[in-house]
């Protein structure tokens, strides 16, 4: 067994959320620059330039890219040969989130309960944590500070197997069309296909974290990603929704085995401020 202390987890999680909120990924920047080259709309170009300038300011001045610094969501791969010492894993993760959001001048956007009280927890906890037990003696954290302007435009459908590829395409494109300017385009579209209602949504979120420029390893899904992206970029929504060619920077699909009776499809939209970071300890 390899020992990893809760203190190490706290420092790692804190650092990840600071990095995610201050430094946009090189992959996203490359995607924005490529969009800028292809964009035909002058307004669209101006919006992308503003976004690129904004991201530079945030990184240089160590301030948040977007005022909505999101909900803290973590995908954790926990090696089965790891022994966590010095405390409770979930508490350590939340302490890391707390230290990042309180100490890093990030907005606290989480309320304790959704319906009656909606009292701000003042430290952006609790985080949403998905843990997968894997072989090995390391812990890998993949995190996203997920903004909710785009989260609110996400959608899920329980299609039938007969709806097939065309049904999936239509649902994804319709979801982006309906969202229009609301989710801060250019967006990244995460699509989860198969599994159950919860699994589809979870893998759609995971899909938004994949690095831009890395298509699905199964060529059939990689091609489908390209086809859906092309259709989305014919919607005309464009940067900021003011018209243009760059509505989405990427479509990422993840799939899971499905029940004979169902074809669940979840679409998780992520704004251009796709703030993710990863670290293995």
């Amino acid at each position: 067994m390899r020992e990893i202390s809760c203190d190490q987890i706290i420092v790692t999680v804190k650092d990840l959320f600071l990095r995610a909120n201050y430094d946009i990924g090189d992959d996203i920047l490359a995607g924005l620059r490529s969009g800028l080259e292809k964009e035909e709309s002058d307004t669209g170009k101006a919006i992308i330039q503003q976004i690129i300038s904004n991201n530079k300011i945030a990184s240089t001045e160590r301030i948040a890219i977007c005022q909505d610094t999101g909900m803290a969501i973590l995908f954790v791969k926990l090696g089965q040969e790891v022994q966590i010492t010095g405390g409770n894993f979930n508490e350590a993760v939340n302490e890391g989130v707390r230290q990042a959001y309180v100490g890093g001048y990030l907005r606290k956007s989480v309320v304790n309960e959704p319906l009656f009280e909606r009292k701000n927890t003042q430290d952006n906890t609790p985080a949403i944590v998905y843990v997968e037990i894997v072989p090995g003696d390391k812990i890998c954290f993949e995190v996203t500070a997920k903004g909710f302007g785009s989260e609110n435009m996400s959608s899920l459908a329980m299609l039938t197997p007969a709806d097939g590829v065309e049904g999936v395409k239509k649902f994804v494109v319709d979801t982006v069309k309906k969202a229009g300017p609301n989710p801060c385009p250019p967006v990244i579209v995460g699509v989860g296909i198969g599994g159950s209602i919860d699994k589809a949504a979870q893998i759609a979120k995971k899909a938004t974290l994949r690095k831009l420029g890395s298509p699905h390893q199964d060529d059939r899904y990689g091609l489908l990603e390209q086809e859906i992206l092309a259709e989305i970029n014919k919607l005309g929504i464009g940067p900021g929704g003011l018209g243009g060619r760059t509505t989405a920077l990427a479509v990422h699909i993840e799939f899971h085995p499905a029940h004979i009776a169902s074809l669940p499809v979840a679409v998780n939209i992520c704004c251009h401020a796709a703030r993710h970071a990863a670290q293995e300890i």
């Binding site: 948040a64 005022q67 909505d68 014919k234 003011l242």
Partner: protein, 185 residues
């Protein structure tokens, strides 16, 4: 779409609002007020009860924003627009009270656009996710009411050359409808 940039000062006069057309790039200077979900809910409750609002809305611009905390030495933390549709159920009540401008991002309901035409008000979009850049144009922030709401409090912002685009003008012309048409093929 006009190439040049129009400079406007608050409060927004009827003449100025009339002169703004869909697609105009503007730089806003003066006082604007921040309000989002929680303040709109409180405003709606006050109006329902026939009570006074904590500010006179005549000619004012409301910015839909909940800023991030400011680092020491900065006037305001990152402060980009939030999605406007969540304020749609209350916005017409405020337009009836003289509100002349709203800054946000995203679609508005038909009822809001109708009320904008009737009350001659303008809807501006700021670039969503350009929060660090936009904060550079904010000179000061000061709570006016509901301080306990934190980032959601009603705040007075003094801005200088705040960048925005006229998305829906006071005739109801809508860039979110017109803009995409050219690029749909």
């Amino acid at each position: 779409m006009s190439e040049h940039i129009k400079r406007i000062n608050t409060p927004l006069t009827a003449e100025m609002a009339d002169s703004l057309a869909m697609g105009d790039n503007v730089l806003i200077s003066g006082v604007i007020y921040t309000a989002r979900d929680a303040v709109h809910k409180r405003f709606a409750d006050l109006i329902k009860e026939g009570k006074e609002l904590p500010l006179d809305l005549d000619g004012q611009i409301i910015y839909y924003v909940g800023p991030a905390p400011a680092k020491p030495g900065l006037a305001c933390g990152p402060a980009g627009p939030t999605t406007s549709y969540r304020m749609d159920s209350v916005a017409p009540l405020l337009l009836e009270k003289g509100l002349k401008g709203m800054i946000g991002k995203g679609l508005r309901s038909a009822a809001v656009v109708e009320s904008m035409k009737k009350n001659k008000a303008v809807y501006f979009a700021a670039t969503g996710g350009a929060a660090a850049l936009i904060a550079k144009s904010i000179l000061s922030v000061e709570a006016v009411a509901y301080e306990e709401l934190g980032t959601e409090a009603l705040q007075k912002m003094v801005v200088s050359d705040f960048p925005a685009i006229v998305v829906i003008d006071n005739k109801g012309n809508n860039l979110y409808e017109q803009g995409p048409k050219k690029y749909q093929s």
